[in-house]
């Protein structure tokens, strides 16, 4: 329990600050990816119909990419925030 453990990360503001910094960086990366997708969908929908690798079109690839990227960034964040001695 965090209340009983004074060295638990919840009682160490420097860890919260560090996590929040990582969070903001990763958030900015995703914001660019998401903004890029929505910009394309809104202003260049025809481009989304192109299939860059010959198979599935950009709309689907980018869409799946956003979902996979969310999970990927989330896992990176988990690793960055894991308890460690520093």
């Amino acid at each position: 329990m965090p209340d009983a453990d004074p060295v638990h990360e919840d009682h160490r503001p420097e860890i919260s600050a560090r996590n929040s910094r990582y969070g903001l960086i990763l958030f900015s990366i995703y914001l660019v990816l998401y903004g890029g997708f929505m910009g394309l969908a809104a202003f260049e929908p025809q481009l989304m119909a192109k299939a860059p690798f010959g198979g599935v079109n950009l709309a689907i690839l980018y869409g799946f990419g956003l979902i996979v990227a969310a999970l990927f960034l989330a896992l990176i964040y988990m690793v960055l925030c894991r308890p460690r001695r520093d």
Partner: protein, 663 residues
């Protein structure tokens, strides 16, 4: 409906549903013995394992709108429905990277606790509690109406039965063990939904795609082939519409929509020319395809299908087929996940649209007509009426789309029923890990929605009158047992989400309003009592609203809830965390103005003019319907201005941006 419920045939659906409800209720009573304290009731003792909480996030978040709405939209209009999936999932990035850990650190039971943690301001408590209630009720109405709308085709009961079953079950879930039982219901629902949608997707890929004649075409060509065709004069109401009609030998009407001639209907088109010598020569070139019609008489009870009374033998036929596969193949056999999409992209698909004709005598005829569409067109943004604006040149229509996508992105992490789940885990690390599990489960589910929707689009099993039935009918195209399971899951999906919403509202009323704002003295036992009382009242209110709004199309209320949540709550949450000059007046003003401005924008928007007031949307002074693009920045602006005005160095909060608690 061609899938009219009968207990003799559909008892598995009923049993699966009854079994699920029995398990959920049994679990609630069992857990109810444990959750006696306020911390137990409001926050499940803060001891839910992060993995369970992660899946419960999925069960809380994936509402009927996600499951049935998105699948239906993809099944009828293609890719556009998937844009919702992407936006709903992306919102979790805000939750994980910005909100999760601070909200856990700052709060106790509710979102208002977190906002107010440093200030102890009654203004913040009141504003946050009202915003929680407004958002939760907007979210609640479509869930309750959806429960009523689903229960008839799925279980053969009336609308109000559905509303009452959900209302009572949820009241029992929440009143017995509060957040403890709510969590487990959401966990079970989340797991079942993801697992069965995965099974369904595997079956879609194994079945592959095959070229089919539309069932309607088969029927009309067959009946009209036996006898003379007599032209029927259509009334004034049809003037300017591309339809003409023939009386069939059995007394029914065969209606044709000109254009889109069907190459396989050569014989049929030849008969039209022979039987109807007076036929307009120009139209001869493009004799069209038979459509399906449903006429509801002015009394609202008599229903004619293709001109004859609706019966088991004479009903609308299921639709949604592939008319041409690439390379002239007739069927593909099993396909891989990417192969399925690329094959569909180079196929031609017959989708069905609707035209509504109102006669002078008060009767209404709906015409369901087939349109052949290229896969490549269906699989890019802008194929649906909802998002057609992105293919137009109108900047405002594009901004409307972007505004909705911004609301979905920012709204998720501002939804009270999602935020309260963070208080059920023990620490910030668990809050973080459970969000990652949530993202994995929800993201996986949203990938599946694309396959479910496209699978339904090509299943030949769609009901042209009801987009919400796409996913269950897709299951029916495989077998009846799967239909039973998916139907039961679809219906019980409502339970998990409604429980979360009632919990959020219960906390806002009992904890924020009564205890903290009105300063009603209560000990631990009374806190639980008032929480349960509030849940009971909200449950009853939900049932009343579910019946009142029965006739309205309420799906857009979910979009409103996201817009209002994002506009009212997000600026306050973010600035509280990242700007040390934020004052209590700033937060109160941002929440109030964000909520009121987004609500006012919505009520004055073109969409509401058309869909709610029945007025000409052009008369609205608002340029686009979704407010988030304007009202989220407004919330930030109001917060900054008010905080700057009210900030006093002495009285201002002397804390670093990331809060410290005494070790």
């Amino acid at each position: 409906m061609f899938y009219k419920f009968s207990l003799a045939r559909d008892w598995p659906a009923f049993s699966v549903f009854a079994f699920f409800v029995a398990v959920v209720l049994g679990l609630s009573f069992y857990l109810g013995r444990k959750a006696k304290s306020a911390k137990g009731y409001y926050a499940a003792h803060g001891q839910i394992h992060w993995f369970v909480n992660g899946i419960a996030f999925a069960g809380d978040y994936l509402s009927a709108a996600s499951f049935l709405g998105i699948c239906g939209m993809i099944a009828f209009f293609g890719y556009d429905g998937f844009l919702y999936s992407i936006g709903y999932l992306a919102g979790w990035i805000v939750a994980l990277f910005v909100i999760a850990e601070p909200i856990k650190r700052l709060g106790k039971f509710t979102f208002a606790d977190a906002l107010d943690g440093r200030f102890n301001s009654r203004g913040i408590k009141l504003a946050a509690a009202i915003s929680t209630l407004v958002v939760s009720i907007f979210y609640l109405i479509p869930q309750m109406v959806g429960a009523g709308a689903l229960i008839k085709p799925l279980l053969g009961l009336e609308h109000w039965h559905g509303v009452l079953i959900v209302g009572f079950t949820v009241i029992v879930i929440v009143v017995t063990a509060g957040m403890v039982s709510t969590t487990w219901v959401q966990f079970i629902k989340g797991s079942l939904l993801v697992i069965f949608c995965f099974i369904l997707t595997v079956m879609i890929l194994r079945r592959g795609l095959k070229q089919q004649e539309t069932p309607e075409a088969r029927k009309s060509y067959a009946t009209t082939a036996s006898g003379d065709l007599v032209r029927v004069q259509l009334s004034e109401a049809w003037k300017g519409k591309p339809y003409f009609a023939y009386r069939e030998t059995n007394g029914g009407i065969c209606m044709i929509r000109s254009g889109y001639p069907d190459p396989r209907a050569v014989e049929f088109n030849r008969r039209i020319r022979e039987s109807d010598p007076g036929f307009n020569e120009r139209a001869l070139e493009t004799v069209g395809r038979p459509v399906q019609t449903r006429t509801v008489a002015a009394d609202g009870r008599t229903v004619l299908i293709n001109g004859l009374p609706q019966s088991a033998e004479n009903d609308l036929l299921p639709v949604g087929t592939v008319s041409e596969l690439p390379g002239g193949k007739l069927s593909t056999g099993p396909l891989g996940p990417f192969e399925f999409l690329s094959t569909l992209q180079s196929s031609t698909i017959v989708t069905w649209s609707k035209d509504t004709i109102k006669e002078k005598d008060g009767s209404v005829t709906e015409v369901f007509y087939p349109v052949e569409k290229k896969g490549v067109d269906l699989l890019m943004p802008g194929a649906s009426p909802t998002f057609a604006g992105v293919r137009s040149n109108s900047l405002f229509k594009k901004l409307d789309f972007l505004s909705l996508m911004l609301a979905l992105f920012c709204g998720t992490a501002s939804l009270p029923h999602i935020l309260i789940r963070y208080y059920t885990v023990k620490d910030q690390a668990s809050a973080r890990k459970s969000t990652v599990v949530g993202i994995a489960a929800i993201g996986f589910f949203y990938v599946l929605t694309l396959y479910l929707g496209l699978g339904a689009m090509t299943s030949g099993a769609l009901d042209p009158t009801d987009t919400n039935m796409a996913a269950p009918l897709l299951a029916k195209s495989f077998n009846n047992f799967l239909f039973a399971v998916i139907s039961a899951i679809a219906f019980t999906t409502v339970l998990g989400t409604v429980s979360g919403l009632i919990m959020a509202g219960s906390g806002a009323v009992a904890h924020d309003l009564m205890e903290n704002f009105l300063k009603v003295k209560m000990d631990d036992r009374l806190k639980v009592f008032y929480g349960k009382l509030a849940a009971l009242m909200l449950g009853i209110l939900a049932m009343i609203l579910g019946m009142l709004f029965r006739k309205m199309n309420v799906t857009f209320l979910v979009g409103w809830a996201f817009n209002i949540a994002a506009s009212a709550n997000l600026p306050a949450l973010v600035m509280l965390l990242f700007w040390k000059r934020t004052t209590k007046q700033g937060i109160t003003a941002a929440v109030s103005i964000g909520m009121l401005s987004s609500l006012a924008w919505i009520l004055a928007s073109p969409q509401v003019y058309r869909d709610v007031y029945g007025l000409d949307p052009a008369r609205s002074i608002i340029p686009f319907s979704q407010p988030a693009l304007v009202t989220i920045p407004l919330g930030f602006l109001v917060l900054v201005i008010v905080s700057l005005i009210t900030w006093r160095p002495a009285s201002g909060p002397a804390f670093p941006v990331v809060e410290q608690r005494p070790a």
